[in-house]
């Protein structure tokens, strides 16, 4: 029963939403939006709360480890400071909440992301080798893309740019389109399997 009822609910919502997608009646549209907008948002919001609660629980457990505690405290301080600031001064315009977002979160996040440039450089030196024909094609395509977008003082003129655009617009695009259609068909199949109750991995295992 613990697995059957959720399956029935899942199939019911799947069929209803599929049918509602095509209906034009205002009541059908309204029901469609109620589920996709309100239900989804609310359940996801609670899922986020569960995630935050788990984060706090895991970190509190770690507090006892002396070597970890300064980091745990910093993380938790960051987590609690944001809601406290939001509660005290609001979240709009020039509030302290936005100040922390702009001067702490944005630079930290952007710089962590920027580190990837260095790993890409390291990978280019150590891993990007023409070991086989496919690897050579991969390498040459990457070089074409990079070269065409490196026109220092017009060293590489329009023809390089046009050729690179052709590679992107036709051979490269066709492979991407193949992946896209593959994902599309795969998603439709998986969705049907979920609705019909054939795909049940989302239910997890009974504990």
């Amino acid at each position: 029963m613990a697995r059957l009822f959720p399956q029935i609910i899942c199939g019911f919502f799947g069929v209803v939403l599929f049918v509602l997608y095509f209906l034009k009646a205002p009541s059908a549209k309204s029901l469609y939006l109620t589920i996709t907008s309100d239900y989804w948002q609310i359940i996801f919001a609670f899922a986020l709360l569960v995630g935050v609660a788990s984060f706090i629980r895991v970190n509190i457990k770690k507090l006892s480890k002396l070597s970890e505690s300064p980091y745990v405290i910093t993380g938790l301080l960051g987590l609690f400071a944001m809601p406290v600031m939001a509660l005290l001064w609001g979240i709009k315009g020039d509030s302290p909440f936005m100040w922390v977002f702009e001067n702490v979160q944005v630079p930290l996040q952007a710089t962590v992301f920027a580190l990837l440039a260095f790993f890409v450089a390291s990978a280019s030196l150590r891993g990007f080798k023409a070991r086989s024909l496919p690897a050579t094609i991969l390498l040459v395509s990457a070089l074409i893309a990079l070269l065409s977008r490196s026109d220092i003082f017009g060293w590489f003129g329009n023809s390089a740019l046009e050729f690179s655009e052709w590679v992107r617009s036709y051979p490269s695009m066709s492979a991407r389109r193949g992946i896209l259609i593959g994902i599309g068909l795969g998603s439709v199949t998986t969705s049907l399997r979920v609705i019909l109750g054939i795909e049940r991995t989302w239910l997890g295992k009974d504990r």
């Binding site: 997608y21 549209k29 469609y32 939006l33 996709t36 907008s37 989804w40 948002q41 996801f44 919001a45 709009k92 315009g93 936005m98 977002f101 702009e102 979160q105 944005v106 996040q109 952007a110 962590v112 992301f113 920027a114 440039a117 260095f118 890409v120 450089a121 390291s122 280019s124 030196l125 150590r126 891993g127 990007f128 080798k129 023409a130 070991r131 390498l139 990457a142 070089l143 990079l146 070269l147 977008r149 490196s150 026109d151 220092i152 003082f153 017009g154 003129g157 329009n158 740019l161 046009e162 655009e165 992107r168 617009s169 490269s172 695009m173 991407r176 389109r177 896209l180």
Partner: protein, 267 residues
């Protein structure tokens, strides 16, 4: 040289190349690609005072790339006197989007509520896109600043996508796909995009099929767009560093391969 040393050397090289070229402070006029020109022409060709949704669909991590893109798009749209409706489909796009709109609106003497409005963030992007197709005011009962949307002058004649000429999605990930698959497919709204360079190839099939009207990508795309607008900016200023870093990476690939083939020959 061991792997740790070679990694550190590759790191140091990139750091030096970017720092030195940035210290030179030289702006480069970037050769405009067809892609950027298409995007420029598309937005330029929209009738005056069109209602346009600018969706900030990116996170804070990609801001160094997305901000110059956002700026050129907003400058172009404000310069053409369009009515702009800002929304954010990712939480972090909220603060960024409002700031960008506010900054550029000031440059063009645009008034909040009359020429532009920022509706803020709506979680669950698919739900938000579908919901705006029925009612923008219903999806956002209040704007970012807490004003009731039904009382905002700009929105008095804008009910849903039927009243919107175009959506410009500023995205660092796959969110533009949802604008295409739900906004365009179900409601027929025209979608264009300014995306992080890494996402350009992802969207190529949609450009080819016409589901995406036009797109511009990356810091280089921003520099090209600045060129078309006839203004300077961080895009043009960064092009020397960008191009030099590309050449540096190419050099690393060549060195890596020469070393590989030599070692294979030896043994």
């Amino acid at each position: 040289m061991n792997s740790r040393q070679s990694r550190h050397l590759a790191f140091a090289g990139l750091f030096i190349v970017v720092t030195v070229t940035m210290l030179l402070n030289i702006s480069i006029v970037a050769t405009v690609s067809n892609e950027t020109k298409q995007m420029f022409d598309y937005l330029d060709g929209l009738p005056e005072r069109s209602n346009i949704i600018v969706s900030f669909d990116h996170e804070a991590s990609s801001l160094p790339e997305m901000k110059p893109l956002g700026l050129v798009i907003l400058r172009h749209l404000f310069a053409k006197d369009h009515n702009l409706i800002g929304v954010a489909l990712l939480a972090e796009g909220t603060g960024v989007g409002y700031r960008l709109m506010q900054e550029t609106a000031k440059e063009y003497n645009k008034e909040y509520g009359r020429d532009y409005v920022f509706l803020g963030f709506k979680p669950q992007f698919i739900a938000a896109i579908l919901s705006m197709g029925e009612s923008i005011g219903g999806t956002f009962p209040e704007d970012y600043l807490g004003n009731t949307t039904s009382e905002i002058e700009l929105l008095s004649d804008i009910h849903n996508y039927d009243d919107v000429a175009a959506v410009v999605s500023l995205a660092d990930g796959s969110l533009t796909t949802h604008w295409i698959e739900y906004g365009n497919e179900k409601y027929g709204v025209q979608v264009s995009a300014a995306v992080a360079a890494s996402m350009l190839t992802t969207y190529d099939p949609y450009i080819s099929s016409g589901q995406l009207k036009a797109m511009v990508g990356g810091l280089r795309g921003a520099a090209e767009y600045e060129n078309l607008l006839g203004i300077g900016g961080s895009g043009a200023r960064s092009m020397l560093a960008q191009s030099s870093a590309h050449l540096y990476i190419i050099l690393l690939i060549i060195i890596g391969n020469v070393t590989y083939f030599r070692s294979r020959k030896k043994g």
